[in-house]
């Protein structure tokens, strides 16, 4: 799997390269600025890009902008965005084209190598990986949303994990449930939120995120 990395802090960049290579991923470019990133993405067309939001030269949201521009030129180009803070606003912008292949995680998630690699692979496969903190914020801002309020605590847990982008199997593993029990919960959630159920994991996640983003 070919990966492009964009991160301006030398230590962190090297750490990421090391981590990804140790898990058998092929890092084809590791750049440190917005323009370099855009060039690398368009030239290398990687299977997935791991991008820091704040990059030189402006140290604003160069990384995010470069990723969005690249995704306009190469639709569905998988991008996993890393940041020191998460904003619903950025999550919305990343998800806006509705084509999936998007990850948005706090930098701390790199600490847990296995889960991080899992997220990278999920994004590369066209899935989503949303940070639990993004989902928590989404649900908090939906606190007064009528259908969300009708979910049982267990359904809420399933919804959170589902919105992060996990499959039924992964959710079941996390909550110590059988896959069929998770399937029943998801069917209930979709019923309560008034969404059309789908067997495709990715499409299901995008539907949930779109619903929560509607507010």
């Amino acid at each position: 799997m070919r990966v492009v990395i964009a991160e301006d802090l030398h230590l962190l960049r090297e750490g990421l390269v090391h981590l990804l290579r140790a898990h058998g991923l092929d890092v084809v470019a590791a750049v440190e600025s917005g323009p370099e990133l855009l060039e690398a993405l368009l030239k290398e067309r990687p299977d997935v890009a791991v991008v820091d939001v704040r990059l030189p030269p402006t140290f604003t949201d160069e990384g995010l902008q470069a990723s969005l521009t690249a995704r306009k030129r190469i639709p569905g180009l998988p991008v996993l965005v890393l940041s020191q803070h998460v904003e619903q606003l950025y999550a919305r912008e990343l998800l806006a084209d509705g084509s999936g292949g998007i990850g948005y995680l706090l930098k701390d998630r790199v600490f847990n190598g296995e889960q991080f690699i899992d997220a990278v692979k999920r994004v590369a496969a066209g899935g989503t990986a949303m940070d639990p903190e993004v989902i928590a914020k989404l649900l908090a801002s939906n606190a007064r949303n009528e259908p969300v309020g009708r979910l049982t605590p267990r359904e809420r847990e399933v919804l959170e994990l589902m919105a992060e982008g996990r499959s039924n199997a992964a959710i079941g593993q996390r909550l110590y449930l059988s896959e069929s029990a998770v399937g029943k919960h998801t069917a209930n959630i979709f019923g309560k939120l008034g969404l059309v159920p789908s067997d495709d994991d990715n499409r299901r996640v995008l539907a949930v995120l779109a619903f929560l983003n509607e507010k």
Partner: protein
């Protein structure tokens, strides 16, 4: 409109006339008080003068649309009774407060430069603004008297008034107000003194709150991230020692260290958000407000009209003001929806937050809002809260001088435009049309009409030339104005 301006102009002239009378009375009183020592005349005379200038200020506001602030020094405190029952005034002691009180009042009145400027205004008003505002009425009187005396030139004055009153009368009334403001308004010195005391207060507030903020950050770092990093270091050290003897325990310790560093990061994130939110640094006020709106549980509608980035300290003050207001809306108003509007007018930033809650909010109760007001105060900004019982609540945050407004440079175009607009009437009316009427009617009076002083063969060409010149100037002015406006519209778009 014209009639009203004519009437007010005449009234202003009458007031000026009255002012002249009062000025004469005041002069006599002043002479009496200095020469004959009749010092008791001063306070009532000054009071009379101030009453009349007060009337002039009010008329300037109501009729001329010119706001004039009162320039007077604050009145002195009454004399304090000493423990022994006497009243002190300088080095003298008095049994009753009457004389010290009088002395204080006297020195208050005489030492205030505004008192003397008031006298000056009353003496000069009739010859400056008053004459200007009353000119049409005076011309009518002169004209009628001349006509009654059999002189046809009187008709000319009446015609002049009839023709020019439309633009002259409102202008003269306004100019009267402007002249009054020059003489009756606050002097630069008084204004600066007031501003200095306000700025000193704002600076103390800012320094205090800044110090408190730094103390809070220091405490948070000390008890939070710093302490956790110490723990992480210690845990890693312990794991290092156990590495060989008990690898499983070392692994468990390392996992603990990782969790602790994660928590430290989380705390640092919280802290950073409170100092300067990353989204504000990355995207500016517009998107930061949108991000705020997304994070509230309310249904929020955001409209932003900003020409670009504002400077960072001001942006941050505006952001935290909106944030605090929204927090209050969520906590206290019971609202389900909120509308945030960010816009600019001139160089002023204006943010309105409206909610559909039950109202009854009181800015003086919330400590958060008081802090925001202080912070805005450092930029001369204000937070105004309008929250009637039953709602809706509207909070308005206003920051002056938030944007750099580019003043149009003075070019030959603007200069030409100004000259043409202000002078085109001279060749057009008196030198052109009026001279033409006089020539047609055959009146021998020449006055200041250039054409009538010319040899007969050059009279008509001069008149026509004048009319053409005036029309040309008018057309030039109009064309340049139109171009100017168009250019402005393009620049705005």
């Amino acid at each position: 409109m014209t009639t009203r301006a004519l009437v007010t102009g005449t009234a202003l002239f009458c007031v000026a006339l009255l002012g002249e009378l009062v000025a004469v009375v005041a002069l006599v009183a002043m002479v009496l008080s200095t020469v004959l020592g009749m010092i008791f005349l001063v306070p009532p005379v000054v009071r009379l003068v101030r009453r009349l200038t007060g009337l002039n200020r009010r008329l300037a506001r109501e009729w001329s649309g010119v706001e004039i602030d009162e320039p007077y020094l604050p009145e002195p405190d009454p004399p304090v009774r000493l423990p022994d029952g006497w009243y002190r005034d300088g080095r003298s002691l008095y049994r009753t407060p009457r004389i010290p009180a009088f002395n204080r009042r006297l020195s208050w009145l005489l030492k205030d430069s505004a008192t003397w400027r008031d006298f000056g205004f009353l003496a000069a008003d009739m010859w400056a603004g008053g004459l200007l505002a009353g000119a049409p009425a005076i011309l009518v009187v002169v004209g009628v008297v001349q006509l009654a005396g059999g002189s046809p030139i009187g008709l000319l004055w009446l015609l002049l008034v009839l023709g020019a009153a439309r633009w002259y009368a409102p202008w003269a009334v306004h100019v009267h107000g402007v002249i009054a403001r020059v003489m009756l308004g606050r002097t630069e010195k008084a204004r600066l003194a007031q501003q200095v005391s306000r700025l000193a207060r704002a600076r103390t507030d800012v320094v205090d709150s800044q110090a408190a903020e730094l103390r809070r950050i220091e405490r948070d770092l000390h008890d939070g991230a710093q302490a956790r990093l110490v723990a992480v270091g210690m845990t890693i050290g312990a794991a290092e020692e156990l590495m060989e003897s008990d690898p499983a325990a070392a692994k468990a310790l390392l996992a603990k260290a990782r969790d602790a560093s994660s928590t430290a990061l989380q705390e640092l994130r919280q802290l950073v958000r409170g100092i300067h939110p990353p989204v504000l640094a990355e995207r500016g006020l517009a998107d930061a407000v949108r991000a705020l709106a997304l994070d509230t549980p309310l249904r929020t509608h955001v409209t932003v009209e900003l020409p670009g980035r504002l400077n960072a300290p001001l942006e941050s003050a505006a952001y935290f003001a909106v944030s605090e207001v929204l927090t209050n809306v969520v906590r206290h108003s019971g609202a389900t929806q909120a509308w945030i509007d960010v816009s600019t007018s001139g160089d002023r930033l204006r943010i309105t937050v409206t909610d559909d809650g039950h109202g009854g909010a009181d800015a003086s109760r919330g400590t958060g809002l008081a802090g925001i007001e202080r912070r805005l105060g450092a930029f001369d900004g204000i937070l105004a809260l309008n929250s009637p019982m039953g709602g809706p609540t509207t909070a308005v945050i206003e920051l002056p001088r938030a944007l750099q407004v580019v003043r149009p440079p003075v070019t030959w175009r603007t200069v030409t435009m100004g000259i043409c607009w202000s002078l085109c009437w001279i060749p057009l009316f008196p030198q052109g049309f009026v001279a033409m009427i006089l020539k047609l009617v055959g009146i021998t009076e020449k006055s200041w009409f250039l054409a009538l002083h010319m040899p007969p063969s050059l009279q008509w060409p001069t008149i026509i030339g004048m009319i053409l010149l005036g029309t040309g100037m008018l057309a030039t002015a109009a064309t340049l104005s139109a171009q100017h406006r168009k250019a402005n519209e393009v620049a705005c778009a």
